[in-house]
């Protein structure tokens, strides 16, 4: 157990700001995890005059609006955080996301619900693009891999617990009340239970101490052009965006349809798919603990590329195995290998650019990932619906992942010098 103890003792040595961000990574995603699942059940259980008010199509529409606004506002969110500081951006984004989520409980108007879903997406995107820059600015060079992996691990565990509770709490409340069916009251109660968690999640961000100075360009250029003047590492950012886009097509080709695959091929029950995804998320979170140790051995670039490339055979195995009990094994291993390098990729991106362009870079990378992922998911869904062929989606995912990470190795492999167990990765001018 020594490596696990060493990992946690390393966490003890983080700066107070990094610890506050870890606290937020545990509390807030738990609340949002409950909200994400329980709110969908709440909408589906609303009945007026004997008629169901919202169907699954409306939930998909809300998710699509949230995703679209999230992708569109990522770059402006990054620019905002570069200009006004990470803490301010975090606070504003969190308050918007919480108010938008709570607001959804007070209306049944479809247009209002869609606007609130968009606002929630806006808040979450500002938050997502600020996290990476904030983490790197609040830890020593030696602690970076540990902090990025710990933050991802805590967030993944908390959001999975939240999603499980979001599904189980309404059922538990219904059973406790002696009902056989989950109704609007039970889901509303679960949402009310989760609300304090959302509010408490704001506290660590409020407690963060930041001395932020606006970049020089803010005074030197007019307001409308000063925002983008910080971005100087265009070539590096473009290369990272190309790799991210190709990799995102690989993820989007198969991840959104994985649940449908288990429904279709193995006749899984809804709950079984939910538990399988929860187990794979927990496994991935545990796998992330190993990330700093792998980075220390082989370096960041190779950790990112090798884990993604190692996942490819398992992606190809999933549709070829005839038994459910056997197919879940490569599914879980794929999830672990795909996610292990994620936090280190974020760290690597942050290390390749200058401090004043970190937010903007995170925003661009976020957009370069979200849109291709969504488009690949839609395209594969359409191909699946028209042909009924699963192997194509898994094959396309494997091919794009292979292309993306071979290209990543080619473009960035030489930049990294591995000297013994310690690795030095720095921005190259």
């Amino acid at each position: 157990m020594r490596p696990v103890a060493a990992y946690f003792s390393r966490i003890q040595g983080f700066t107070p700001n990094a610890k506050l961000l870890l606290a937020r990574s545990l509390i807030s995603p738990l609340g949002f995890g409950i909200w994400g699942v329980a709110f969908n059940i709440y909408l589906l259980t609303i009945v007026v005059d004997g008629k169901q008010v919202f169907g699954v199509e409306f939930i998909f529409m809300m998710v699509a609006v949230d995703w679209l606004v999230h992708g569109l506002s990522a770059f402006p969110g990054g620019l905002f955080s570069d200009r006004f500081g990470r803490r301010k951006t975090f606070l504003i984004a969190s308050v918007i996301a919480i108010l938008a989520s709570l607001g959804k409980l007070f209306t049944l108007d479809p247009a209002a619900l869609l606007i609130l879903a968009g606002l929630a997406g806006f808040g979450s995107s500002f938050h997502a693009v600020t996290s990476g820059p904030f983490l790197i600015e609040n830890c020593s060079k030696e602690d970076r891999s540990h902090l990025f992996s710990a933050q991802s691990m805590f967030g993944l565990i908390a959001v999975t617990c939240g999603a499980l509770l979001g599904g189980l709490l309404p059922a538990g409340i219904a059973i406790a009340g002696g009902f056989n069916v989950v109704g609007t009251q039970e889901t509303r109660m679960a949402l009310i239970i989760a609300t304090p968690l959302l509010v408490v999640g704001l506290l660590p961000i409020y407690l963060i101490r930041e001395r932020w100075t606006a970049p020089e360009s803010a005074d030197r250029y007019p307001w409308y052009s000063s925002w983008t003047k910080n971005i100087t590492s265009i070539r590096t950012i473009s290369k990272l965006c190309v790799v991210t886009t190709i990799g995102a097509i690989g993820i989007g080709a198969v991840v959104p349809v994985l649940n449908a695959f288990f429904f279709d091929r193995f006749a899984f029950h809804e709950e079984q798919v939910g538990y399988l995804f929860a187990i794979s998320s927990f496994a991935a979170a545990i796998g992330m603990m190993a990330t700093p140790f792998i980075v220390a051995r082989v370096g960041k670039v190779r950790t990112i590329a090798y884990t993604k490339l190692l996942a490819i055979p398992f992606v190809l195995m999933i549709p070829l195995l005839p038994l459910a009990a056997v197919a879940v094994v490569p599914f879980v291993i794929r999830a672990v290998l795909s996610d292990v390098g994620g936090p280190i990729f974020s760290l690597f991106i942050m290390e390749q650019v200058n401090p004043n362009e970190r937010g903007a870079t995170a925003g661009l990378i976020h957009s370069a990932s979200e849109f291709p992922m969504g488009i690949a998911g839609l395209t594969m869904g359409w191909i699946m619906a028209s042909t009924g062929e699963w192997n194509f989606a898994f094959g396309a995912s494997a091919l794009f992942t292979l292309l993306a990470y071979l290209l990543f190795l080619r473009l960035f492999g030489r930049r990294e010098r591995v000297a013994g167990p310690a690795v030095a990765t720095e921005a190259v001018p």
Binding site: R2, A6, F293
Partner: protein, 75 residues
């Protein structure tokens, strides 16, 4: 370092094996819808609540420690 890395790989392997085999065992025993639906939900709720409580307490712990350190550092 080499020994630590080897220990970690063994530990990760054991944990992964346990995690990977558990859904397989659960699926092998899958039976009626009731076993998977309401029955399993009420069975899983207490550990899910317990685990979530641990997550929240861990978050609170980090927050308290961070505030104490901020005070000690005079920030």
């Amino acid at each position: 370092m080499k020994r630590k890395f080897r220990q970690l790989v063994v530990l990760a392997g054991v944990v992964l094996a346990a995690i990977v085999t558990s859904p397989a065992i659960a699926l092998a025993h899958e039976g009626t819808e009731a076993a998977v639906g309401g029955g399993l939900a009420s069975f899983l709720l207490p550990p899910a609540v317990a685990f979530s409580t641990i997550v929240v307490l861990a978050g609170a712990y980090f927050m308290v420690v961070a505030v104490r350190e901020q005070r000690r550092l005079g920030e």
